[in-house]
Amino acid sequence: MSSTDTHSHEEHHHEETFITKWIFSQDHKMIGKQFLVTGIVMGLIGVVMSILFRLQLAWPEQSFPILESLLGKWAPDGVMDPNIYLALVTIHGTIMVFFVLTAGLSGTFSNLLIPLQIGARDMASGFLNMLSYWFFFASSVIMVASLFVESGPAAAGWTVYPPLSALPQAMPGSGMGMTLWLVSMTLFIVSSLLGSLNYIVTILNLRTKGMSMTRLPLTIWAFFVTAILGVLSFPVLVSAALLLLFDRSMGTSFYLSDIMMASGELLPNQGGSPVLYQHLFWFLGHPEVYIILLPALGITSEIISTNSRKPIFGYRAMVGSILAIAFLSFIVWGHHMFVTGMNPFLGAVFTFTTLLIAIPSAVKAFNYITTLWKGNIQFTPAMLFSIALVSTFITGGLTGIILGDSALDINVHDTYFVVAHFHIVMGLSAIFGLFAGVYHWYPKMYGRMLNKNLGYVHFWVTFVAAYGVFFPMHFLGLAGLPRRYYTNTAFPMFDNLAEINVIISIFAIIGFAAQLVFLFNFFYSIRRGPKATQNPWRSNTLEWTTPVEHIHGNWPGEIPEVHRWAYDYSKPGMEEDFTSQITPLKEWEEEESH
């Protein structure tokens, strides 16, 4: 066994050329980094877009020369056109949800950590893994290219509900831009499926000796369940997208019926249902929330435990709540559709299932808090971002109890209350998880450390600005302000909301500036950061037993055997406050069931 392993590892070593090492790499660590850097670039585009439309929302009539230089004909005299406003919110949503928080987060850390933490030489199929990245890359290129087409990018909201998204006559964004959106998303889903299948197979089959499922770090559990969610739900989005493509270009009527455009053009379509699309979309759309959130929760479980120097509290409950959340996420999609005219009885069922999710979520929050209790907390930037995640997970989760309640949803549905809710619970939590992961595993990725003090600056400005942006939005929603409004000046009843909009936009710009600090830190440290030691955070998991320098096959010799779970921090009787998973049990230790 060991001799073949060493042998195969040496074999790989000779073959590497520039192209196989840096571009068409099949090494999971390189692919993880590729996902991360692509995700960061897409994230930058998505965040810049949000700054642009925040300018419009806070100062609706003001002229900003920068808008004209960036948007050209879409912002004559520096004032944004309503069509490009809608396009910006649409592409901002699409990019952040799929390209940053799905591919950038799950793609990066599943790839980097699964083989390293379970003790495998690489993914089950390096080739599929490479394809997964390149499909993602192609999909990103097409999405970015769609920004430059004559009629503008897709603009029907990130959920692209037909008929608006199906009919080029309804808005310019539903022309070529929408076709590219659908093509891009289809490629994205292919990427996601290739990745997810690989993750599942790898976790099930390639665990090292002694790494039973109950000894897996919670990161791996989270990635595992996320991959299952993806495999089961993304294909449904493909079907929704394909039917939409048919309706758009082949004259079918899956989603269209009885339509006359404002121009007087009567469409021949009959018998379709726009609500069908919403069912298909949200059957993915809701699990997608957890595809984004679970990896972030997994990452922070690991980081909070490591930096509290304590075992994660209630390991089994944490695994159980991941499973419960994942299961429930498939039977709650209707809570996005309480006011679509769906049968009210169904609304009642979805209210029930939706609110149940609060139970496993509460368990997770309490377990995090208890993990901090009587710890010896090391405040790395990663740890701070993890604590921030728990905070936003609680805040956003609580408003979910309001929105999941069909009767309460009636009046806040599609208002800024919803925008506030999902940005806090999903956007902020996941992005905090992503940052936490980057700060924590940067030494593993690049062999160097990120600058700690810049990390602190990045964290505090981001954290304060994030609440500054999204907390006041609740009040806008309670004032009845609908989302996706180009401006609220058309309604005098909203005139007194201008002040809040200005505050939000100022926080958004401050928050954006903090991300520039992060970008600088990230790219500067790749070459210039201080060299990392093998196990800088004194962590238990297997990835810290590999050498700092990346090698194909991860371990120079045999893959180590695992003797214990990942969370023996500060175990009484041990000299150090951490005990690596590869440390054999001492005579006096009993194998405990956690």
Binding site: P82, F379, D405, D414
Partner: protein, 341 residues
């Protein structure tokens, strides 16, 4: 010019960052310590910062309610709206309580257990009793919220059929609303987009007897205290009829008819004298006066709340709730569908 200045500022920013990082690195070399490892001092500073930010955050939380609590929608103007607002208040009370307990604990633990050299954390990996408690307590609280929520939902969506509501259609298209009263027979005539022609903008079937007395208008008047069954249609894309003051919202979907029944309970004139409304209108008018705009008088309004295209933000219709008498007078002035043909 601005471009050049921006480029220079960005460049200077990057140079400044490089210099700051260089200083960190040089100081590390000088003092021979690893400045990137988290020191005891870092733990102390960051722990205290967590506590401070939490306290400021909680103050900010209360202050935001003080500063902005008044801009929220005024009291509900419909029967079921009162139920929704009661449910809202109770649910909100519960989640604010949980928020104010958990967040301070989270940040306080961060502060209290900030790392100290030589101290060992407590090895505490699970406690079934504790975990059972915080599974069961949320479950019980949620059961209450679910039951209360569902009973409200059922009351709203399965209204009393004996009330014999007045039927009114709301019709959305890019980018405006039209309303149609069912007339004396209280039955809307059949309509379909295929029959839209000339002034028949709703595509009403003139051969359907029920359509003769239908009344098509562009301003919605409702008599106070009378149940209304709203029927919704859309001509081109999905719109959403949002009547925030009445706590009513329903999507208008091309190819199907949706509905929502409610009873308005407060006339426009009464609502305009509500203290909350008066305060907000005064505030709004101060802002409008400063900007040189006409003063605003309170009115109920119907908004579009489903993205529908470029002018989505300006798709509105005025709603007037008035006494039965005034309503009847207004309605008598409108032409019926048969008259208008």
């Amino acid at each position: 010019m601005t471009g050049i200045i921006t480029a220079i500022v960005v460049l200077l920013g990057i140079i400044a960052l490089v210099q700051i990082v260089r200083i960190f690195e040089i100081s590390r070399e000088v003092s021979k310590t690893d400045s990137n490892a988290v020191s005891e001092r870092d733990n102390d500073t960051q722990g205290k910062l967590l506590l401070a930010v939490m306290i400021i955050g909680i103050i900010g939380f209360f202050y935001s309610f003080y500063a902005w609590g008044g801009i929220t929608l005024p009291k509900p103007a419909s029967e079921h709206g009162v139920d929704i607002d009661n449910l809202w208040d109770i649910t909100m009370g519960v989640i604010i309580l949980v928020f104010l307990i958990t967040q301070p604990i989270l940040f306080y633990f961060g502060y209290k257990y900030r790392g100290i050299k030589g101290r060992k954390a407590t090895y505490y990996e699970h406690n079934n009793k504790l975990e059972l408690i915080w599974t069961l307590v949320p479950a019980v609280v949620l059961a209450g919220i679910i039951l209360y929520g569902l009973s409200t939902w059922v009351e709203i969506t399965f209204p009393d059929t004996e009330e014999d509501p007045m039927v009114v259609e709301l019709y959305g298209k890019q980018f405006g609303w039209t309303a149609r009263y069912a007339g004396e027979d209280n039955q809307l005539g059949y309509a379909n987009v295929r029959m839209i022609e000339g002034i028949n903008v709703l595509g009403i079937d003139a051969s359907d007897q029920a359509s003769v007395d239908d009344i098509v208008v562009t301003e919605l008047h409702l008599p106070v205290g009378r149940p209304v069954m709203l029927k919704f249609r859309a001509q081109d894309v999905i719109h959403s009829a949002y009547l925030p003051h009445f706590r009513v919202q329903m999507n208008c979907v091309p190819g199907m008819v949706t509905q929502f029944q409610f009873t308005p309970t407060v006339t426009t004139a009464e609502m305009a004298t509500d203290p909350d409304v008066v305060r907000n209108v005064t505030e709004i008018n101060e802002i409008r006066a400063a900007a040189g705009e006409d003063p605003y008088e309170f009115e109920y309004v119907l908004l579009c709340n489903k993205i529908c295209g470029a002018a989505h933000y300006n798709m509105q219709m005025k709603i007037v709730v008035e006494e039965e008498e005034a309503y009847n007078k207004w309605l008598a002035e409108q032409k019926t569908f048969a008259e208008s043909l």
